[in-house]
Symmetry: C2
Subunit: 242 residues, 2 copies
């Protein structure tokens, strides 16, 4: 199967997909669609994904698919080398992973994207920063993190649902939370600080997917340093162009 991934490593679901393929030895061609350069809005990319979002995949030059959770489910089933724990064949276990993934979209992801756009990345997409929307999104995000801690991570398992090995849900949610690294340090501490169990689980997922986890996140860490420098310049009366 010839697999093309249309991704931007600055996008959290793109990273989940890249790490998944690398960890599972799935061969692919990485096609970068730079969001900050609006490449996702080009007519060429619209032919791949009419919803103009990353990630998307193309299989054997023909079959196209978007929505990161659908892609992760598909790859886990279509490539026989993928270990069962990523998306178990057992219907009861699989259903619980589906439940986490569906919950993610309406809760953690909604909060996280709202905070990131309205405090940090909005201007890069031509959107104003909106403090009121940021505050509302932070509530959703914080309550989602609390839910992860009290429910999805309850018990002694290293991963979601009390599991001893990661699933596509761990990878998807952890990549979402990693995106918060781009936030101002004080805001990051305010949001993640109270959730030790979440931070430990992020570490577990990182450790279970190394060295790919750090390799794929390198772009985000570089962006974090640039943003930090730019904020510190602003604070000392410098400009963004220094």
């Amino acid at each position: 199967m010839m697999l093309k991934l249309f991704v931007d490593r600055m996008s959290q679901p793109s990273r989940a997909l890249l790490i998944f393929c690398k960890v599972n030895g799935i061969d692919f061609e990485e096609v970068t669609i730079e969001l900050f350069k609006r490449h996702h809005l080009s007519p060429e990319y619209e032919a791949i994904n009419p919803m103009k979002q990353v990630p998307a995949i193309e299989v054997d030059g023909e079959f196209k698919l978007f929505e990161s959770h659908a892609i992760l489910r598909f790859l886990a089933c279509a490539f026989p080398g993928v270990a069962d724990h990523w998306y178990p064949a057992d219907l009861f276990k699989r259903a619980q992973i589906d439940s986490v993934l569906d919950w993610h979209h309406s809760n953690l992801r909604r909060g996280s994207v709202g905070v990131l756009l309205n405090t940090t990345f909005g201007p890069a997409f031509g959107l104003p920063l909106n403090p009121q929307a940021a505050a509302e999104a932070e509530k959703t995000l914080s309550s989602s993190l609390a839910r992860i801690e009290s429910f999805w991570l309850k018990g002694d398992g290293k991963f979601l649902l009390g599991s001893s090995e990661p699933s596509i849900a761990d990878l998807s949610l952890v990549c979402e939370i990693m995106e918060l690294e781009a936030l101002d340090e004080k805001l990051h501490e305010r949001i993640l600080g109270p959730h030790e169990k979440v931070r430990k689980w992020v570490d577990n997922t990182r450790n279970a997917t190394q060295p790919h986890f750090d390799e794929i996140h390198a772009v985000l860490f570089q962006a974090k340093e640039r943003l930090k420098k730019s904020r510190s310049n602003e604070g000392s009366g410098g400009t963004n162009t220094n």
Copy 2:
């Protein structure tokens, strides 16, 4: 398998689940959790679904599951009598249905719930009506309906993805759109009026699932009549208590 469905027929994902079980001859016990009476917030129900939402299921008094898409996937796979078209075993077809379902949560559902809460149902949950939030949600809803028409319903198939038979995605999205029946008639016409192809597909899904579709929607149609009467009383100087 002993199946309990915790549902409220006024909730669109609850209805999708009920219709799915009835059409496929799946035996179940219906446990009504009345949202308007806040029964979903009770400690008893929290033990079933800690996220305090309907629907949820319980299998053999033990296995609990929430998130309607996860439940529909699970039932389609766990009950051998369910026809393949509802959630095909073919990985490519299945992946596309997953893609529709995931897209639904961040687009159509988000718009629809925003419009319904901020124009109609908010006060029943102790929330104010918010015209600005309603206007924003209407944009999301209208662009989602346009997307369904131009992309998911492209071609000549009677159902989503050019299919000749319905899937769990048809049922889930159509039940979402049916909830808009509760809106004021002018608003309903403004939102659905421009989308003839969507209205035809709603009819196709209804016809493919009768008589269960109408039976399960009866509560919604009754609510629609009550709301209509109440609006007309308000318009003629009457009150809600007439």
